[in-house]
Amino acid sequence: MAHSTLLAFKAGRGFRREGTNFVDPSPTKGAILLRKEEDLLHLVWKNRATNEVEEDLILFPSDATFSKVSQGSGRVYVLKFSSSDQRHFFWMQDASSERDDEFVNNVNGFLMDPDYEASWGSSSQPEASTSTAGASSSSVPSNFQATPEQLAQLQQLLSSAVGAGAAAPSEMSLNDILTPANITPLFTSHPDLIPTLFPHLPPDLPMPPSPEVVQRIISSPQFRSSVSSFDQALRTGLLGGLVRGLGLPEEAGTGIEPFLRAIQRQADQEGEDSMDTD
């Protein structure tokens, strides 16, 4: 797949807190890349820890703008579309804010016109925001194509990051919440809640669902091991997509605390709606 990277800079994503105008920055280290693929402009967000592309947006000329979010002190920007309500929030992750304006201006230039000619200041490498001092700036072409040296630098920038698995330490573990001691009292105090669990039990259990079976499952090594895996995965902050399948907002997938908060809100909401749960 032939593509050229027009520019790239370190950026994280932010997610709107449900029902508010607050945007919570996700700590995951990433980068925004603007790429041209077969005449289409893409804005790509790459996770620098896993090196995976997690967001790939196609941008039609003049459809989107990249603007600073004026409230708050952070270097937060929003990608807004005129063709839809989509909003994508990003925050600058380079230690220095010196070049923020330069990058943003060039991003908007490309968003207007994919054939835009980027203009870079007289200092170091134009296409990658590194904090290291620059190489020669003498023969930087104005219609920028990355040289092999610059691409190598970009590669380094994208791969040098927190190692995989270095998740934020959590002050609590899901396994300590989902204990028989915490769950079993529900059987007597809230017996109507127990059938809500049945659709989620293994479909091929050799016995019919019942509170005893639920208790046996919660105490089993297989379940506890699943909970540990899920706990660990949550702490990487990367489960935004997965939790949407549970009816939760994307930011619920950014950590244990956001996950549990979103669950409480979901439970309160369902209580208010007073609709029968599944």
Partner: protein
């Protein structure tokens, strides 16, 4: 892009008799695997007909065990090299099954064994590992990989790799089949009378265990044996028909033991195959609706604090495992 680079799509499985026995069922083989707690003659006798012993241990960088027995490069039976680490359990099972005379098996396994006959161990290992149906049978006892949270760069926190070595009789000798060694190892011969090959096997295994220091090795033994259920059931109806109530009663106890063991295996296997995320979510929602989530969080936080300070006192680091 998922987990292990060299896993070739083989997922790591638990080395549990229930998992093995389910695999055997899928292969159409009327055998089961049981835990073996002792090598004494009575324990082994109760498991007859017994076809192979599987010795499994957490891999330790080898204390140089002087090798007992001799390599047999001319071994005419089935021996495959372990080519993919995650496939080690299934490979050990095949190395056993491939050498059991007159074994009843499903058509896929029969064809696989026929197809690989005459191949060298390395090629056999490659053929076995690239067998799609076998890999699917192997993987069917872990959660589906799309939702096993692979690809998130998590440190592998599943079981450390166990290594499996098979001991079985073949043409008058006790053989040791180890997929990581170049050839099968021939230990001594045995008499067909009494315990037969088992007494020789016991000697070899006990000697092996004795060479490891107690702390260095975490091991277990499994027995590959005929599934006793059909014959217990037949014998029971015969005894009952003949009015031999006392013996029938004893057999009923044995039958109940076997049946409850299978129920436990089936229960555990259904948990292994299941993606529990939905259950985790609905349990937390239930707690939240009952107003119990906040207190549970608070107690979880203090448990964690205690755990961390205990670990600090012991001088450990709190790296999750």
């Amino acid at each position: 892009m998922s987990g292990d680079d060299d896993s070739n799509g083989w997922q790591l499985t638990e080395s549990d008799p229930g998992v093995f026995s389910e695999l055997l069922k899928t292969l159409g083989v009327p055998l089961i695997v049981d835990d073996l707690y002792s090598l004494d003659p009575d324990s082994l006798a109760s498991l007859q007909p017994l076809h192979a012993l599987i010795f499994l241990f957490k891999w330790v960088s080898t204390t140089s065990e002087g090798m007992s027995g001799n390599y047999d490069p001319e071994f005419p039976g089935f021996f495959a090299h372990q080519v993919v680490n995650n496939a080690c359990a299934t490979l050990a099972v095949l190395n056993a099954l491939g050498n059991i005379p007159a074994l009843k098996s499903g058509s896929q396994l029969t064809q696989l064994l026929e197809f690989t006959s005459g191949m060298d161990p390395q090629t056999r290992g490659l053929v076995v590992t690239s067998s799609d149906w076998l890999r699917e049978a192997h993987n069917s006892l872990s959660p589906p990989s799309a939702i096993s949270l692979d690809g998130l760069g998590l440190p592998k926190q599943t079981e450390e790799a166990y290594h499996f070595v098979v001991y079985l009789p073949f043409m008058g000798f006790v053989y040791e089949l180890d997929g990581l060694k170049p050839h099968p190892i021939r230990h001594g011969s045995y008499h067909e009378t009494g315990e037969g090959w088992l007494s020789r096997a016991r000697e070899v295994i006990e000697n092996r265990i004795a060479t490891y220091s107690p702390e260095a090795l975490d091991f277990s033994l499994l027995a590959l044996r005929d599934d006793p259920l059909p014959s217990i059931q037949t014998e029971l109806s015969d005894l009952q028909a003949a009015g031999r109530q006392a013996e029938a009663a004893e057999l009923v106890v044995k039958l109940e033991g076997e049946t409850s063991k299978r129920n436990r295996w089936n229960f555990e296997n259904s948990l292994r195959r299941h993606n529990h995320v939905g259950l985790v979510h609905s349990l937390l929602v239930a707690l939240a609706k009952a107003g119990r989530l906040e207190p549970a969080k608070e107690s979880a936080k203090s448990i964690m604090k205690e755990r961390i300070s205990k670990a600090k006192m012991k001088g450990e680091t709190m790296d999750e495992s």
